[in-house]
Amino acid sequence: MSAMPSIPAIEVQALGKRFGDFAAVSNVSFAVERGEILGFLGPNGAGKSTVIRLLCGLLRPTSGRITVDGIDVGRDPEAVRRRIGYMSQKFSLYSDLSVLENLQFFGGVYGVPRQAIGERIQDALRMAGLAGHADTPVHALAGGWKQRLALGCAILHRPRVLVLDEPTSGVDPLSRRRFWDLIHDLAADGVTVLVSTHHMDEAEYCNRVALIDRGRIVALDTPANIRRRALDGELVEVRGTPLGRLLEALAAYPPVRDAAVFGNAVHALLARAADEAPALAAYLAGRGIGEVAVARIEPTLEDAFVRMIGRQAQGAGGAA
């Protein structure tokens, strides 16, 4: 709040990180506004965690620049760390310490003023739903409780920026839902949140989503815009058995631009669904695929993602 509103909370410019010959992150640039929730979406190993670790100053970038609140991570990493609350992918609180002892430790190392710490710990306990469990050893907590405690520890020093690396992996759906409610509350208070996930449905909770694949940002937009724009056509859901033969048949049919299995159906991309769907149904009818049903559907983020990654792979293949 003290900084000028024109400076983005996080700004990343042409970021690159190589591990030997492997380019984990290539030419990544983005900016996150104050109070915004930006989601990093992508498969495991896409480079989400690497970008996050670079942002927290845990890794040194090979190229590019990161600023948090206008402060360069490379130049003054400690000043940036004071402004960031970080939740790592792997649970990294002290299991042999109690809930309260963990909170006291992180309050101490983040230099939370002594007169404020008691109240903030109470806030964190309330927020995490851990009131009355202050003396429970952390190793005895269930997954969802651990995640909420980790979030509690990460916000004790009231950071302006919250960086969460797959905070909900291994947590049951109800706890996930509750966790996201907390994140929305924090964002409403003006905290900027950068959160990575591989749950496609969670991306819908974000203001904007960056799709990351093989160390690059493939798309960066609101979930709605990504769904709308990623697909160069309209989507139909095709049902039929056996699924394998259905997919083969669709892939061999020229008007279908792309086909992928989703659950027990195939999603096929057509230029104009209304015009082409009847011809498609007729084409499939003679191919030994039981009862065929074709229906126009609204694309999900996952459809968009699969289509975009597919296009990237084709582009890479064509260039090679």
């Binding site: 670790r53 100053g57 845990l58 960031i84 970080y86 792997k90 992180f106 101490g108 190392v109 230099g111």
Partner: protein
């Protein structure tokens, strides 16, 4: 450095040690165990050597000699024999390590002020014990003979007699009882502190890596210097506590004299602990798993310290090249200081050279350790 962060780190570290049975045992039980093991195990003295006597005379006079032998702490008369052959048997079956044979004309020879020979037969399979036993037996018999002679002359002349005009009197300084325990135990304190200090700290960084807590710790604004100081502070306190425990056992259990001041001991121990803790920390930074780190720390402390610090094996008796090598072993200086404090009661002022050397080592190690840790992962 912020005090608030140091405190948070130190409290957390202490809680982890207290809750980890392995660390707790290492911190509190190991020193006492080591002290007992080395205090009793490394013993170059003889005591209570089992002795058989073959009294060919059977007079009150020969009984007087045996009483004298029995009264000495070195010997314990276990059997009375009646035959020369029994001596061989007793030696063979190990029931005695030495046999004293009093000739049939013992009291007559003494009365005539002749040379009265008491034969001592020693089992020399352990040559160290045998040499010492023979020497002590000699001393006991000589003492007895001297008293007898004085007594005799006094009685015949009716005058109190002055002791023999010329007599050799050795005075042993600083370790009057010539107890090897007095020589060894002060050095054992160094070994114990090095072992415990380096072992405990070698786990401190490795534990964070192993349990995955390092990632979050590195993301906090804690500086490497704060991490070093905050993490080592509890071990420093534990080390000093262990030092005091060792001192108490040395003085009250093993009856090793402590003639120096507590303050001097605490000061020298602090310097030594700084070196040892930083060695352990260094190892911990370099080796990110607990088992590996503790092995390396063990190797780096126990080997050079037990062999080259002079705690049990005198440095003066080492070959010149090895002697030169001992100047590089920091424990050497501490052992020198410990022995001087315990046995001589020297002041730090008199010990300025080893104190300075130890302080130099401490400064260098703290500098290295502070630089060792980089706040990066991977």
């Amino acid at each position: 450095m912020k005090l608030r962060r140091l405190r948070a780190l130190a409290v957390k570290e202490l809680l982890q040690v207290v809750r980890d049975p392995r660390s707790l045992m290492l911190a509190l039980l190991m020193p006492v165990m080591q002290l007992f093991l080395l205090g009793y195990g490394v013993n170059l003295d003889i005591a209570h050597v089992p002795v058989c006597v073959y009294d060919q005379e059977g007079s009150p006079f020969s009984q007087g000699l045996f009483k004298r032998v029995q009264a000495s702490p070195y010997f314990r008369i276990v059997r009375s024999l009646h035959d020369q052959r029994e001596i061989r048997q007793a030696m063979d079956n190990g029931s005695c390590r030495m046999a004293l044979v009093v000739p049939a004309d013992f009291s007559r020879q003494v009365a005539l002020q002749r040379h009265a020979a008491v034969q001592a037969i020693v089992d020399a399979t352990d040559d160290n014990t045998a040499t010492l036993a023979a020497a002590y037996a000699n001393a006991v018999v000589a003492g007895f003979a001297n008293d007898v002679r004085l007594d005799l002359v006094e009685r015949t002349s009716g005058l109190p007699l002055l002791p023999a005009p010329v007599a050799q009197q050795s005075r042993v300084w600083f370790n009057e009882d010539l107890e090897s325990r007095n020589f060894i135990i002060p050095g054992v304190v160094a070994l114990v502190l090095a072992l415990v200090g380096a072992q405990l700290t070698s786990l401190t960084i490795a534990r964070e890596w192993e349990r995955g807590t390092m990632e979050l710790l590195v993301s906090t604004p804690v500086t490497p210097m704060e991490l070093l100081v905050g993490k080592l502070a509890p071990y420093f306190a534990i080390g000093l506590l262990d030092g005091l425990i060792c001192l108490a056992f040395a003085v009250f259990w093993f009856h090793v004299p402590f003639r120096g001041t507590l303050l001097a001991l605490l000061f020298a121990t602090s310097l030594f602990l700084l070196v040892v803790l930083c060695v352990g920390y260094f190892v911990s930074v370099a080796i990110p798993n607990q088992i590996g780190a503790s092995q390396i720390a063990l190797f780096l402390t126990i080997m050079p310290i037990s062999l080259l610090s002079g705690y049990a094996f005198p440095i003066d008796q080492m070959p010149a090249a090895i002697r030169l090598l001992t100047y590089g072993i920091y424990a050497r200086y501490y052992v020198t200081i410990l022995k001087a404090l315990f046995l001589k009661g020297s002041s730090l002022h008199e010990l300025w050279l080893p104190v300075l050397a130890l302080a130099g080592y401490a400064a260098a190690m703290v500098g290295l350790a502070a630089r060792a840790f980089r706040k990066r992962i991977g």
